[in-house]
Amino acid sequence: MTHEQATQLVARTARRLRLARLVKALLLAAAVSAVLGLWSAALPGRPREADSMALIVAVVAWVTLSAAGTTVGRLTQAAAGYTAAGRPDLAEQALIDAAGRFTLLPANALLAVQNLAALAHEAGQYAQATVLSRFLVDQARRSRQLRRAFERPGRLLLADAELMLGRLKAAYEQLQVLYDRQHTLAEKLTLLPVASYYEAAVGWWEGLAEQAAERARLAQLLPPAQAASTLGCLALGCQHTGQFQRRDWLWRQATLLVDRADLVERLPLLDGLPPDADIRLPWKAPSSDSGENQ
């Protein structure tokens, strides 16, 4: 997905969501008016058939449009399955299809956009991820239900994408909101690599070193790329505070998970860690180091 496609998709989805809010309001008004008309005995000459028809049309429209929301949910389910099967291309297509459909339920459309943002982020398309997740955060502010489901994940994704684009101030604006809140385990884990990299980027070494033990334990629960980048940032903190044994332990774990070159490409700050602290992979050891039969 290109940046332009992401921008067009959010504009289209925003228009559809506005239209959905208008349609819901109109249908509700029509249904309430029809029900009041049917029950009202004080309106002589008012044809009951008109009220019945209005109610039926309102309900049929609501049910039909809600059924479209079920289709959006099914496409999102299918996308989840494609992602699990290692087919992000099919997942992206299903999610673009889902986000492009009209639905009365904003949560369905936003879920598709959230998953698209996550896919873009995973693929390293950070500009697209910022567009999609900024849209998510803006839409999530509209109701308590949407805020609970989408605001935090949206802000986290946005913060990380902004960090990857080198926009520290924009990243901090999102992190600041998240720091001030209670977190579930899932939220704490998702925040961990983003916060660690931000703290490394601004040079908060003492804080990183102080929290190294706890954060390294939690990092075990992260996906490998995020675990490795967290461990790398913690290793940097230990290096800058003179704790070299801890640095070596953390960096060996990190480079066992992901190659140094890939880590540094994603997080250039990690190039500050010495190459001789990298893990020595057994299958790359020199042949004279076979060490048979002590």
Partner: protein
């Protein structure tokens, strides 16, 4: 509704939960497989058409001319309409609920919060799952949890259920590779060998191709064919690192076992250190029981943190 957040006890250690055993019985596994099967009734399969028919009928009843000799037709029409609304709402709600439960279970599985994952999976599988892709993933999770609980035959049953679903080929391939491992853990060597030989002749994609190689590795360990393990150790270890990341710890440990058995202590120690940098000896042994005694013969990596 059971929620991963319900298990967010501030005093609980999520890292300990990632190494916690799972309590699951064969009967539970069988029950979850059955209750999660998609609905097959004629009415459910044609629900959308029937809903449309109900609404059209309601329309007709209301539109009938006033002189028509059908008492209560308007009420009947409105009643039908109300019923269509309720049914439509319930169907939508069910889809949303299933998706929400799936996401929660996925989060728990990804974070390896096994007790929570088991509880959430039970809730998810207590209702029919119509999407073949989603059901395949869910059954693979069930097999993994059954394996952690030591219920290897139940794991095989869950994987056989995946193989019976008409779905994407990758799920079938994953199920076959996992089934081979489950059969080996259940000491059904002949069945496992037949399956692994069958996988060899298939065009497999990653990570299934590597998983099948892990199956071969484990079979060679069980048949004490250590020379064959060592011959392919380096290539498999490099591949496992790319494909399995932290779960490659199991591969490193199995290779360490092979080197240790042939007396190559240095290489054994190097591989074992890699394994225990990523996973504790206890967790390694939970997945492959042959690794249990290795902790007494080799030194695991020790954290200075």
């Amino acid at each position: 509704m059971t929620d991963l957040n319900d298990h967010d006890d501030p005093a609980a250690d999520p890292v300990a939960a990632a190494e916690a055993p799972v309590e699951l019985t064969d009967a539970q596994v069988e029950s979850w497989i059955l209750s999660s099967r998609p609905r097959r009734g004629w009415i459910y399969r044609h629900r959308r058409g029937l809903l449309t028919l109900m609404m059209l009928l309601a329309l007709v009843l209301v539109l009938l001319p006033s002189g028509s000799d059908m008492p209560g037709r308007e009420l009947a029409g409105l009643g039908l309409l109300l019923a269509a609304m309720v049914i439509g709402w319930r169907l939508t709600r069910q889809t949303q609920l299933t998706l929400a439960r799936y996401r929660q279970t996925l989060a728990a599985m990804q974070m390896r919060q096994w007790p929570a994952a088991s509880a959430l999976l039970g809730r998810l599988m207590s209702d029919p799952i119509d999407s073949p892709e989603m059901r395949s993933v869910v059954l693979l999770w069930l097999a993994e949890l059954a394996g952690r609980a030591g219920r290897h035959d139940a794991a095989v049953a869950a994987l056989d259920e995946v193989l019976s679903i008409n779905t994407v080929a990758q799920y079938h391939q994953s199920a076959m590779a996992e089934k081979a491992l489950a059969l080996l853990r259940a000491h059904r060597l002949t069945d496992a060998t037949a399956l692994l030989d069958g996988l060899r002749s298939m065009d497999l994609v990653e990570p299934v191709a590597s998983l099948a190689e892990v199956g071969q590795l484990y079979r060679r360990i069980q048949t004490r064919n250590y020379a064959a393990v060592i011959a392919e150790a380096d290539a498999l270890a490099a591949r496992a690192r790319e494909v399995f990341h932290p779960q490659a710890a199991h591969v490193y440990a199995l290779i360490a076992l092979a080197f240790e058995q042939v007396g190559n202590a240095n290489r054994a120690q190097a591989y074992y250190e890699c394994a225990t940098l990523l996973m504790s000896p206890a967790e390694l042994a939970r997945r492959f029981s042959e690794l249990g005694p290795l902790a007494d013969r080799l030194a695991p990596a020790r954290s200075p943190l």
